[in-house]
């Protein structure tokens, strides 16, 4: 934001962080701690990590060429059988976790809240574009050079001058949640038919079984790459949290981080507190 790109609107030069901070200092301090992940959510997340890592480690060798060094990992006679048992055990763990999560988002207040907050809206699509456009800065550069100036003057939103302002969950987190939901369903269904091999041979011709195998393999590659590229960047490598966001361990987020990273949620809380305090003042002043 500290790029003086356009003199169109002088108010843009003012940092929204600072203005918000000055307004809300009294109601939300930067040191105040908010709960971002409850203990149950953190435990679910850790279980997911364990299952996922085990599944990847025991599943990936099947997709790779059994090279010499990889074969060395399977050094005892039943090692390949162990690979299978661990993989299926972790798969069963993942199924268990999914069932638990289903109960969590259906039967608990917090779960329902989180689930609906994670559902994507049109704003998330525009947020993604906005964020990318803003980071890239191509349109601003074009405008500065006077290329397509008329178009940009008519549609200033295409200049992507400000980064998007996120609510409780940004489009990245929503995408990841949906990806996990989708991936889980695909992997569990296809994995089930691969596991119950004799059942699927009785039910389907071999090519259907092979399709399950293909889906299970490619979905696994997709999930694995998504985690090591997308998720690890967003929670570890991004300069915002490097070397690691500690939310998954303590579940806490500070007032400052809330204000800078999730401004819409911050404002909602602020609004709530304002209302509360004014009500309080009202009720206090009535008698």
């Amino acid at each position: 934001m500290n790029r003086n790109r356009s003199p169109l609107d002088p108010s843009r030069a003012v940092l929204p962080e600072d203005s918000l901070a000055s307004q809300a200092d009294r109601l939300i301090s930067d040191d105040e701690v908010f709960v971002r992940m409850t203990r149950s959510e953190r435990l679910q997340h850790i279980t997911l990590i364990i299952c996922f890592v085990l599944l990847v480690l025991t599943g990936l060798p099947l997709l790779l060429d059994p090279s010499v060094w990889l074969k060395k990992l399977f050094f005892f006679e039943t090692s390949f059988a162990w690979r299978g048992w661990i993989h299926r055990a972790a798969g069963a763990g993942l199924i268990g976790l999914s069932v638990f999560h289903l109960f969590y988002i259906v039967f608990t207040q917090r779960g329902r809240e989180v689930f609906w907050a994670l559902m994507p809206k049109l704003k998330d699509v525009t947020d993604a574009l906005q964020s990318f456009g803003h980071n890239l800065g191509v349109t601003g550069w074009l405008h500065q050079r006077g290329i397509c100036r008329e178009f940009f003057d008519r549609h200033p939103s295409w200049l992507f001058e400000a980064p998007p302002r996120y609510g409780r969950y940004n489009f990245i987190e929503k995408f990841e949640y949906l990806a996990v939901l989708w991936g889980n369903v695909v992997m569990i269904v296809s994995g089930f038919f691969l596991w119950a091999i004799n059942l699927s041979f009785r039910l389907f011709p071999l090519w259907v079984y092979d399709v399950f195998k293909i889906i299970h393999s490619y979905e696994a590659i997709l999930a694995f790459l998504a985690i090591i590229i997308w998720h690890l960047y967003n929670v570890h490598l991004t300069p915002e949290v490097f070397p690691m966001s500690r939310v998954w361990l303590d579940g806490k987020i500070t007032g400052h981080d809330l204000r800078t990273r999730h401004p819409l949620e911050y404002e909602a809380i602020l609004e709530q507190r304002r209302l509360k305090s004014s009500n309080h003042r009202d009720t206090a002043s009535q008698p």
Binding site: P66, L70, A81, L206, V211, Y218, L222
Partner: protein, 459 residues
């Protein structure tokens, strides 16, 4: 003395009737202690005795069926007087010691042969000690057939770089201690052949003239059967290579020549020979096709291991590579119109992947195709004949055979093998490429801005 001679001659008779083992239990006659000095000293007063002994021995010899036998004991005794001395050496320092015990227990000793029966040039010698140089013993005087066989063998030929012929009878059979091959102490007994042949053929590295093969053999299932299980009827060197007439494998007359291998192995493995000849490989072998595999092509030669041994070429996880030597060989595929790409399609399957990681229980070539009597799928008796497939697949996947039998196996082209799978695979490929590409782009742009911000802030 007389009594001593009598015992010896009687033992000789026993040996002739072939009761070798009982002989070992006969109590040994006490050794006569006559030193070299004593022998050289003027003989006193024993002449009469000696004459009687000779007479008695001669009479007794008449009872022996082989009438050729000379008065064995007498000459032996004379020889042993010197040669029983451990310290007796020739000019070159080689020991000239002859163990009386070994001599007597040897097949020749037991048959009543005397020293001079073999060392014939000693018969005429009157003055003792005799000259050092004796003529080489010619075993062929009695063993004509054996000598004739040896003359046709590789052992009769001079080794490369040498002028004279290869090994003598004694190199395999031993000298004074030679016993019949049935005897477990014989150098030519199957149990001892690896050592005997290995005396020349044991070299660390595999070379041309059978060098190193004995080392491999000792590790093989046949070698271990001999050395560990003590099975004298396990294959030893001569079982496969022949004995006196041993020839190089390139010689068509050798039992190890390509055309003879199945019959040679079939001496013991007759059931397998029958199966092999019924199968597609055996039938082509009968037609005289040289490229068709015989026993050794899959099982190896000297280093044949049990199929349960992980290092075996026919171990569950190794067999695919062994079959592929021909069935993925472009030249052979073209020449005999074989269905190619068997190995690649197998390796692409779960069976192949698991097998490559060393899982022995998963299906391999032989699980479906059988082994010695492999038949084409058109043969109604083949394991992969359409009517047999449900049963074959059902061995591992009970109840699943019906649908499996209609599946296409070993199809390389993914479009033909499974079109739906092919489309899904392609779709996933592009989906992954697009998603990962967008991730990379976004991360690149995001990182650029954030790093710049961080840099400015720190300034």
């Amino acid at each position: 003395m007389l009594c001593q001679l009598g015992v010896a001659v009687r033992t000789g008779q026993r040996a002739i009737v072939g009761k070798a083992m009982r002989l070992r239990t006969v109590k040994q006659t006490p050794k006569t202690i006559v030193s070299r000095k004593e022998w050289l000293a003027p003989r006193q007063g024993s002449r009469g005795q000696r004459a009687w002994a000779l007479l008695a021995a001669g009479l007794l010899c008449l009872l022996v069926p082989t009438t050729k036998l000379p008065a064995a004991e007498d000459t032996n005794q004379s020889c042993l007087m010197c040669h029983e001395d451990h310290s007796l050496k020739d000019q070159a320092g080689r020991s000239l010691f002859v163990s009386k015990e070994q001599m007597e227990q040897s097949i020749h000793g037991r048959s009543g042969l005397s020293c001079v029966s073999c060392h014939v040039d000693l018969e005429s010698v009157k003055d003792f000690p005799h000259s050092e140089k004796l003529a080489r013993v010619a075993c062929a005087r009695c063993h004509e057939d054996a000598q004739r066989s040896v003359d046709t063998s590789v052992h009769a030929q001079a080794a490369p770089g040498k002028k004279t012929g290869g090994s003598s009878c004694a190199s395999c059979h031993g000298y004074h201690d030679v016993v019949e091959s049935k005897d477990v102490h014989s150098k030519t007994n199957p149990l001892n052949q690896p050592q005997t042949c290995g005396a020349c053929h044991f070299v660390e590295k595999n070379g041309k003239r059978g060098e190193g093969f004995v080392k491999d053999f000792l590790q093989s299932t046949h070698g271990l059967a001999l050395s560990r299980a003590g099975l004298a009827n396990s294959a030893s060197c001569s079982t496969c290579h022949g004995s006196h007439a041993v020839k190089g494998a390139a010689d068509p007359a050798s039992p190890m020549s390509r055309k003879q291998v199945p019959t040679t192995c079939g001496q013991c493995h007759s059931g397998i020979l029958r199966d092999y000849l019924e199968g597609v490989h055996g039938r082509d072998f009968d037609k005289g096709i040289r490229d068709v595999p015989v026993c050794i092509d899959c099982h190896g030669e000297h280093q044949i291991l049990s199929p349960l041994d992980k290092r075996s070429k026919v171990y569950a996880t190794q067999i695919a590579l062994t079959c592929a030597k021909c069935h993925d060989n472009e030249e052979l595929i073209h020449k005999y119109k074989l269905l190619g790409k068997r190995l690649r399609t197998f390796q692409g399957s779960f069976h192949g992947v698991a097998s490559a990681y060393g899982e022995p229980k998963v299906a391999n070539c032989v699980s479906c195709h059988g082994f010695h009597n492999i038949r084409p799928s058109s043969d109604p008796e083949s394991h992969i004949h359409p009517t047999k497939l449900p049963q074959t697949c059902g061995k591992c996947h009970p109840g699943a055979g019906e649908k499996l039998s209609q599946a296409k196996i070993h199809v390389l082209d993914p479009k033909v093998a499974n079109y739906a799978g092919y489309v899904i695979q392609k779709a996933y490929f592009y989906l992954i490429a697009v998603i990962m590409g967008s991730f990379a782009l976004y991360i690149f742009a995001d990182l650029k801005v954030r790093l710049r911000q961080k840099f400015r802030k720190s300034q």
